[in-house]
Structures are given as C-alpha cells and as structure tokens.
C-alpha cells in the first residue's frame, strides 16, 4: 500500500504543466510539447517515467524513443498494456528469433494496405471506442 507522501508526490508529478517541466524533460518530451497540457494525469506520469529512463539509453535508442513517442501517446491503455506484455515476451526470445521477427515485420509492412486491413478486420476487438475514451 503506497504511503500518503508517495501518493502526493505522484499526484504533483502528474499535474505538472509543460512550463513546469525541467529542461531535460522538455528535451525528451519535445514531440509532445503541443499536446502536453491536454494529456491526462496518468498519461503525463507515464511520459515522465520515460523521460526518467531516457538518459540510461544509448543515442540510437534515444532517437527511436523520440520518433515513437507521439504514436505511443496516442495508443489506448489496452494497446499499451498489450504492447508491454508482448515486449516482455520478445525480450525473453533468443537473438536469432528476434532478428527473424524484425525481418518479418519489415516484410509485413511491405504488404499492400488493403491486405493488411483485411488481416486487421479479422481482429476488430483491439480498437474499441470505449477504450479510446480512457
């Protein structure tokens, strides 16, 4: 059970406006600058966690984070949770399997859009309006 101090600290952290963020946080979260103040507290908190871990990564990964941040902020909580679970599975795979999946993803992205749409329609459950509201 979290302490009151911890809850208050988390609350203060997630209520920070763009102007209240530090220079380093501005630098990492720059792709979200225009929409930061419209993000919900829990979204801001998650993004601040990303900014916290950012300096631990090498420059190549940092670049990927910046490039993917916008798309990530637009994903639903359901999608993000699924992504976290599948990322953990991916992390536990041997490198050869990871390389194979990376290659397959590139091939999949080369498929015509209508073919990918058809495949997606067979799994309509992932984009529910109710989840987009969260």
């Amino acid at each position: 059970m979290p302490s009151n101090a911890h809850v208050i600290a988390k609350s203060e952290k997630s209520e920070k406006t763009w102007a209240e963020l530090t220079d380093n946080q501005h630098k990492v979260l720059a792709p979200l600058a225009s929409e930061w103040d419209t993000l919900r507290p829990w979204q801001r908190e998650k993004m601040l966690d990303i900014a916290h871990d950012y300096p631990k990564m090498d420059s190549k990964k940092q670049e990927l984070v910046q490039r993917r941040l916008n798309r990530w902020s637009r994903m639903t909580p359901y999608e993000r949770e699924n992504a976290r679970k599948n990322y953990q599975k991916f992390q536990s795979m041997p490198q050869a399997k990871k390389d194979e999946l990376r290659k397959k993803w590139k091939e999949y992205k080369q498929l015509p859009q209508n073919q990918r749409d058809t495949l997606m329609r067979e799994h309509p459950e992932i984009y529910k309006d109710q989840e987009l509201e969260n």
Partner: protein, 128 residues
C-alpha cells in the same frame, strides 16, 4: 635429596679445581676440556630439538588455521561475486521493463499490438 647431594658434590669439585687449577697436569686439563665440550654439545642439541619441534608445531597450527581462513575467504568472495552478478542481472531486467525501453526496442510499439501482423505470422508458419 639426590639433587642436593649432586649440587654439593659439584660445588666441592669446583672449589677443588679452583684451588688446584694451577697444579693440574695437561692430560687432566685436556680431559676436562673434552668433557666440557661434550656437555655443551649435548645441551645445544637438546635446545635445537626443542625449538625445532616447537616451530614445527607452530607452523602446522598456522597452516591449519590459514587453510580454514583461506576457505572462509574464498567462500565469502564467491558469495559476494554471486551477489554482485545477481544484482546487475536483476537491475538490468528492472531497468529494461520501462516504457522507454519498449519505445527504444528493435520493434516499434505498434508491432507488439498489430493483430494483423500476428495473423500474418500465423499464416506464414502454417504455409511452411
């Protein structure tokens, strides 16, 4: 009792020798010198053996004790190294669980949730 008697005898001999030292002939002096040297040699041997056995005993004890200390030190080192390695492993796992690492991973986040991709992978596996 015997020891007292021996001491008295020795004292009487010493007094007699001191009194008649100048009158002793060369043969007696030579025999006395020989006897003295033998006595000294015997005494030195005794001392060396005693010190030697003490040293061996001390060294054996040191080796035994040292072996115990070395084993304990080795065990402690292994436990310490194990602890450090496990902490690094756990630390790394914890760090890489954050969303930042997901965003920086080899696959983009959408790849982890794209059901069309999953379906396509399943079809691909079935075709092989």
């Amino acid at each position: 009792m015997n020891q007292e008697h021996e001491t008295e005898t020795a004292e009487r001999i010493v007094k007699l020798l001191e009194k008649n030292l100048d009158t002793l002939d060369g043969e007696v002096l030579a025999r006395l010198k020989l006897a003295r040297n033998k006595a000294l040699e015997a005494h030195t041997e005794n001392l060396t053996t005693s010190v030697g056995s003490s040293l061996a005993s001390y060294f054996g004890h040191y080796v035994r004790q040292h072996r115990v200390i070395s084993s304990a030190a080795l065990l402690c080192s292994l436990v310490f190294v194990g602890f450090i390695v496990s902490q690094q492993y756990i630390g790394q796992e914890t760090v890489e669980q954050g969303d930042a690492f997901l965003l920086g991973s080899e696959l983009p986040p959408e790849a982890y949730v794209d059901e069309g991709f999953n379906k396509w992978l399943a079809q691909d596996i079935n075709q092989q």
